[in-house]
Amino acid sequence: MIGRCRTGASAPGEASSTEPATSSGVAIHRPPPRPRLFSLRGSWWLGAAALLATGGCVRVYQPMSGLHDPVVVDPQLPNFAGLRVGVRCLPGGVLSPQEASGMCDKIGSLFENQGAIVRTWTTPGPVPDDDPFPSDDPDAPPPPADLTMQLRSREIHHSEYPLSWVVSIVSFTLVPAIIEETFSHDIEVRDGSGFLLSRDELQGRIVQYFGAGTWIGNTLLDLTLRSDEEELTGLRANEHLSADFYAQLSQALFDAHMRARVLGAQVEVTP
């Protein structure tokens, strides 16, 4: 990587498991390096330029599909009271086991705050035996999850716009250098029997602009013209991404819950 925003936050390719769920980006770590258009590593002049440029970096989040769909569920309300929810965050692709675990913990807190009884795990298969759902009858086997949400994350595109770095250096960083990463979260919700209730793909991207021109311009706009919701500098990208991501998860689980409710009653009520 030739440059990173020094915002105190993780880039989409890095872990952010220590940040609170309400203000962090979604933890994804960078996959092994792939062949680029041409290699930028090892170029001393570019390193020097990156060093200059990272002093002024603006990291912007753009929802692409699914992440900015309308949401009705209010996560402050007990939408899932008493519901046993399993959250499985599968490592692999762009998520390390630690990052998958951190993400699962945040999602677990999100659903617990809405009244659900949550178990999280990062391995394929059902709820691990060491942390089953509570049962009223101590002699009975532990009950299965009413709903299980499974998440996979992957990076689907990465571009460093090499020419933008050249132009940025030539222009003394008035023109920004750019790094762009597009990511996807694949979400499945199944009922207790494993029946697939819903499947969604949330796609978004993080664009990092490096350079004095873009940093000064955006900072001035944030300080003067932009409303709080429109601000772009600092940790805003993480806040915006988290707000969209966790809202979509709550809505996806609620919609699946409604579907499971009627389909589960199918056998009992059909004459």
């Binding site: 692409m64 599909s65 716009y161 750019i178 664009v207 932009r226 429109e230 409604m258 409710r261 389909l263």
Partner: protein, 207 residues
């Protein structure tokens, strides 16, 4: 002209917020990054094929501007109406497995949704999807008495819909050669629709 030609190499292709673009403006677009191959299939003539010199793993960003800006419609209505064509098609497809056992029947559509105008649109789209499959569709809607409705509305929906179906049959409101497709939003917090069918007093939710 030369500088314009370099712009795609300098800046991300899709609308990302920045100096010249606000967050609200960027959120008006639904975008997806898809492979070159998929893009050429879905948008023939509108995506430039990659040349042999270009990256064989090239991807393309496709963006569509939303018809209405955020906030102009209720989020619930916006979510339902945005996916309405797909939802209606999915309902029609789900009925396909049931048709061989039903014989020659007429299909009726009833929509239970909090907003009347949106309910009309849902009904229209569902009937269209059924008619596209060459089914006989009627505009008639079966009715229940006020006392029936008084009882049913106090029951949870899992029980109310099967009971209503039985009453449609028992009262003759729904004939033996008619099938009712009910498109339902069970809870105002839902952004999806559920559907069930009623035939000869038997009710089933569509998967």
């Amino acid at each position: 002209m030369i500088s314009v030609a370099f712009l795609p190499l300098l800046f991300p292709a899709a609308p990302a917020p920045g100096l010249a673009r606000s967050r609200a403006w960027a959120r008006q677009y639904d975008c997806e990054r898809i492979s070159d191959e998929v893009a050429l299939q879905r948008y023939p003539g509108r995506v430039r094929p990659s040349s042999p010199e270009e990256d064989p793993d090239r991807t393309v960003v496709i963006c569509h501007q939303r018809l209405l800006s955020e906030g102009l419609r209720e989020p619930r209505d916006e979510a339902v109406l945005r996916d309405l064509r797909d939802t209606a098609d999915a309902i029609a497809v789900a009925t396909e497995g049931l048709r061989p056992g039903l014989g020659e029947v007429t299909w009726l559509v009833d929509v239970h949704y909090p907003d009347g105008e949106v309910a009309d649109k849902i009904g229209f789209a569902t009937k269209n999807a059924l008619m596209k499959r060459s089914l006989s569709v009627s505009d008639r809607v079966p009715l229940l008495t006020a006392s029936d409705l008084g009882v049913l509305t106090r029951m949870p929906p899992e029980q109310a819909y099967p009971k209503a179906c039985r009453r449609y049959h028992d009262t003759g409101s729904l004939g033996d050669d008619e099938v009712l497709v009910a498109v339902v939003q069970l809870d105002v917090r839902q952004t999806t629709l559920l559907a069930g069918i009623c035939h000869q007093g038997r009710w089933g939710w569509l998967p």
